[in-house]
Symmetry: C2
Subunit: 326 residues, 2 copies
């Protein structure tokens, strides 16, 4: 069985690179066009598989050519796709990633409601969920499906949430159960119940969230980078059952700046971040080490067009070493 | 065998409708997304099939999922696809049609060089070409492939050219052999060897082209509509072998304005125009009648998103009747 179950969107990522988009009424030639397995759930599962973590994906594709293609691609990437539902009469989600020279990026998403997860889809994945060590749940999925998944993971597993849920019941259930909460700047505001500006306000919101349950909160704070705040306790990874406080896990925080050169295409940065944060913690890394590895993964991912990660442990270490040398 | 052989691009037309495209760095949700058989050659062949004209398509798709899908779709549309080449190791052409509310449209084309026609592809279609009544050739295809096709059509067939060729040898061969020359405003300038502005300059260019061989020249003149100029001779359709001058075919011209309401999406207007001009002339229509039917087909096509035509003879007649009543 898989160590990590990722619950989230799976679809296709159509990456179209142009020098610049034409004006209204105009036309241009694409410099490059690639059609990849995409969607936030699939991107995270690919990142985990690239780092050697056994991973299962719970998501939905349409019963169409593109759906079969992305499911096959996920399987070829080493992901357990037995819980990827092929929904009859539904169209597979498409993420259109329009990338212009200079890293200007526009996203157009088409996610038919039929390819969102239902509690039934989650129930069908009960076997995987009951035996996992980590659930990585994307909160863009419907609240009832997320709550169903939270109810199935064993007490020994830790939960990583990514994003902000649409409804209050799901928000409460996630905060009560998740050990790790990850959110971008906008989502962090929705989790906190108020817009957040700057590092100080993010730190305040993180402290509130930590009081309510989670051990570690990772909030993107825009230009300043990613703020990771944690509270004392035993090592988070399920491999360790030592109840003593790990010295690396004393109360603490780190603000990791954006690493690497300016982004070529920001798509997928958050997915790589969440996946590597998860993989690092599962592997027994301390919170600060996990935060740096996650930021390095985001830096590696924004260096190429498309949201699909291209990770290996060596590349992540190299990004961190270069940053420290600079 | 098919009456009309269309030589041109076949690919997929991904139509993405949004309220408005996001700013650089932003994202939005698509209102609608459709993936259709597209490409100028396929659109023209679909239009001919919809009007009941037996039609074969000569074009190239990639040896990939989308390629098989569009070829199957063309066959389902009643097009003879026996001369649609499936090219190994090539990616199928994609036309990305970004449509915003209010009819603002941006096209991004991705046509890998491997899916352009070669003289070998044309030679493989010799059976169809030698027995056709009309060749409708898109001049965006490589010159050597176009010249190969011109050498195969029988003397009894007439040739319709659409667009402007890339090289002078092909331009000369086309002007010498084509009975009907169709070009949009930019292409008309390339055919004439100088930029054309307004109806008078288009009329002058048309007169020059008519002197060099063609019987009928149809040039788009932007806001003013479509200028169609012809010279006297027998009925053009292959069905008629009467050498006498048809009274409808005395020297003449007509300037047909844009018909119908403002475009919702201009994609495919030129393809529908060329196809219906061809079908009308093949069916024995006079030049003025064919010009009006072609403009009506363009009007019907720009009323919906995507380049795929949705034609029937009744709809074309209705557009013309409404215009005359208005």
């Amino acid at each position: 069985m898989a160590d990590v179950v990722v619950l989230g969107q799976v679809g296709r990522d159509l990456v179209v690179r142009t020098r610049s988009l034409p004006e209204a009424g105009g036309s241009t030639t694409a410099e490059d066009l690639r059609e990849l397995l995409g969607g936030k759930g699939a991107n995270q599962a690919v990142a985990l598989a690239q780092l050697g973590v056994p991973v299962a994906l719970v998501g939905v594709v349409g019963d169409d050519g593109p759906g079969r293609q992305v499911r096959d691609q996920a399987a070829a990437d080493g992901i357990d796709v037995s819980c990827v539902v092929v929904r009859p009469d539904a169209g597979t989600a498409l993420l259109l990633d329009l990338v212009e020279d200079g890293g200007r990026r526009r996203l157009v998403e088409h996610v038919p409601p039929e390819v969102l997860l239902t509690p039934g889809d989650v129930a069908a994945a009960a076997g995987e969920l009951r035996s996992c060590q980590v659930l990585l749940a994307q909160l863009q999925q419907p609240g009832d499906a997320i709550r169903a998944a939270l109810g199935l993971v064993p007490d020994t597993a830790f939960v990583v949430s990514d994003g902000a849920p649409a409804d209050e019941a799901t928000r409460a259930a996630v905060i009560a159960r998740a050990a790790v909460v990850r959110a971008d700047a906008v989502e962090a505001g929705r989790l906190a119940g108020r817009p957040l500006a700057g590092v100080d306000e993010a730190r305040e919101a993180a402290a509130e969230l930590l009081t309510a349950g989670p051990r570690l909160v990772a909030l993107s704070v825009g230009e300043a980078g990613d703020l990771v705040v944690w509270r004392a306790g035993p090592t988070l990874g399920a491999a360790s059952r030592d109840p003593e406080v790990d010295p690396r896990w004393a109360d603490g925080e780190v603000l990791v700046p954006h690493l690497g050169p300016p982004p070529m295409d920001p798509t997928g940065a958050g997915d790589a971040y969440a996946a590597v944060l998860t993989a690092s913690l599962l592997g027994g890394a301390g919170p600060e080490e996990a935060a740096w590895a996650a930021s390095a993964a985001a830096a590696v991912t924004v260096a190429h067009a498309g949201g699909r990660p291209q990770l290996d442990a060596g590349a992540l270490g190299e990004v961190i070493r270069r940053h420290r040398a600079a």
